[in-house]
C-alpha cells in the first residue's frame, strides 16, 4: 500500500516540477536554438543523477529510527510549505501558478540577452537558463526521491516514479512545443503537499518513538484527515477577502540573472 503511494507521490511531485522546468527549457530552446539548452538539460540531469546515486544509498546506512526522525522532520517541514502555498492558491490568497505567463516572461528575456560562447557551449545564456531551471526544479524531486526511497527501502521504485513523470512530460512537451498550461498543476501541488505532510508526520513520529495504532495502516487515516482539514482551511479562507495578488511567475530561485 505505502509502496504504491510512494510511487504516486514521487510521480506527481516530479510531474509538477518537470512541467515547470519544461517551460524554462522551451523558452530557451524556441527563442535561441536548441543545442545549448539541451546541453544544459543533460548536464543538470547528470548532476541530479549523481546526487541521488550518492545520497540515496548513503542515507540508507543511517539507523532506521534516526533516519525516520531526521528525514521525516525535513519532509514534514517541506510538505507543509507545499501544502500552505497550495491552500493559499486554492483560496485566492496567492495567485495561481501560470505557466503561459512564465513562458512569455522567460522568452522575452531570452530574446534580448546577448550571446556569449564559453568552452564547448555556443550560447552561455541559453545553457545557463536550461541548466538552472532543470537543476533547481529537479532538486526538490531528488530530495523527495532520496527521502522516500530510503525510508521505505524502495529507492528504485521512487526513481521509477520520477523517471516516468519526466518521460511523460518530455514527450507531451516535444509534441506540443509549448508550455503545458493546461496541466492541473495547482491541484497536483495540493495533492503532493498532502502526501508529503502525511508521510513526514508518519515517519517523524515513528522516529521520535511514537507507535501508530495499526502501523502502516495509520496512513489511511492521516492522508484523508489532512485532506479534509486542508479543504476546510480553503473553505474558511475563501470567506476572507484577499488583497489583489500579483501573478505568480514562479519562484525567484529559478531566475537566471546572468
Amino acid at each position: 500500500m505505502s509502496g504504491t503511494l510512494l510511487v504516486l507521490a514521487v510521480f506527481l511531485a516530479c510531474a509538477v516540477e518537470a512541467v515547470e522546468a519544461l517551460t524554462i527549457v522551451l523558452a530557451a530552446g524556441l527563442t535561441r536554438g536548441w543545442s545549448s539548452p539541451l546541453i544544459g538539460v543533460g548536464s543538470a540531469l547528470a548532476v541530479l543523477a549523481v546526487i541521488v546515486a550518492i545520497f540515496g544509498p548513503a542515507i540508507g546506512h543511517v539507523p532506521l529510527n534516526l533516519l525516520r526522525l531526521l528525514v521525516g522532520a525535513l519532509l514534514l517541514i517541506f510538505g507543509l510549505q507545499w501544502l500552505r502555498k497550495a491552500i493559499l492558491r486554492a483560496s485566492g490568497h496567492k495567485a495561481l501558478h501560470d505557466e503561459a505567463a512564465i513562458y512569455q516572461r522567460q522568452a522575452s528575456a531570452a530574446q534580448t540577452a546577448a550571446r556569449h560562447r564559453r568552452a564547448f557551449v555556443t550560447d552561455w545564456y541559453a545553457f545557463t537558463l536550461a541548466f538552472k531551471g532543470v537543476l533547481l526544479e529537479g532538486l526538490e524531486v531528488a530530495f523527495i526521491v532520496v527521502t522516500f526511497g530510503a525510508n521505505q527501502g524502495h529507492l528504485a521504485a521512487a526513481c521509477l516514479g520520477a523517471a516516468l513523470a519526466v518521460i511523460l512530460v518530455t514527450i507531451v512537451g516535444v509534441l506540443l512545443k509549448k508550455p503545458l498550461a493546461r496541466v492541473p498543476e495547482n491541484t497536483m501541488k495540493f495533492v503532493v503537499g498532502v502526501l508529503l505532510t502525511s508521510f513526514g508526520t508518519f515517519w517523524a513520529s515513528e522516529g521520535a518513538g511514537a507507535d501508530w495504532p495499526g502501523a502502516d495502516r495509520a496512513l489511511l487515516v492521516i492522508i484523508p484527515g489532512y485532506l479534509l482539514v486542508s479543504l476546510l482551511f480553503i473553505a474558511l479562507l475563501r470567506k476572507r477577502q484577499p488583497a489583489t495578488s500579483a501573478p505568480d511567475l514562479g519562484p525567484s530561485r529559478t531566475e537566471v540573472t546572468s
Partner: protein, 68 residues
C-alpha cells in the same frame, strides 16, 4: 565571495524552511515533546498530527492577515 555565500545560504533556507520559519520551529518542538512522551511510556502518536493542523492553521492565518 560573501555575496555568493549569502546566496547559497539563502537558497537552502528558502528550499528547506520556506516563507514561514515558525512552522519549522514548531515541527522541531513537537517532535521533541513527542520523543519525551514516548520515552516516558506515554502514547504520543496523536501529538504530531494535532500540531501539524495547529501550525498550518496558525501560519495560514498569519499570511492572510498580512494580506488584508
Amino acid at each position: 565571495m560573501t555575496a555568493a555565500i549569502n546566496r547559497f545560504l539563502r537558497f537552502w533556507w528558502d528550499f528547506l524552511i520556506g516563507d514561514d520559519w515558525t512552522v519549522a520551529v514548531g515541527v522541531v518542538l513537537t517532535l521533541t515533546v513527542t520523543a519525551l512522551l514516548a520515552a516516558a511510556g506515554i502514547p504520543a502518536w496523536w501529538l504530531p498530527p494535532a500540531a501539524v493542523v495547529l501550525l498550518l492553521g496558525r501560519s495560514l492565518r498569519g499570511e492572510t492577515r498580512r494580506d488584508r
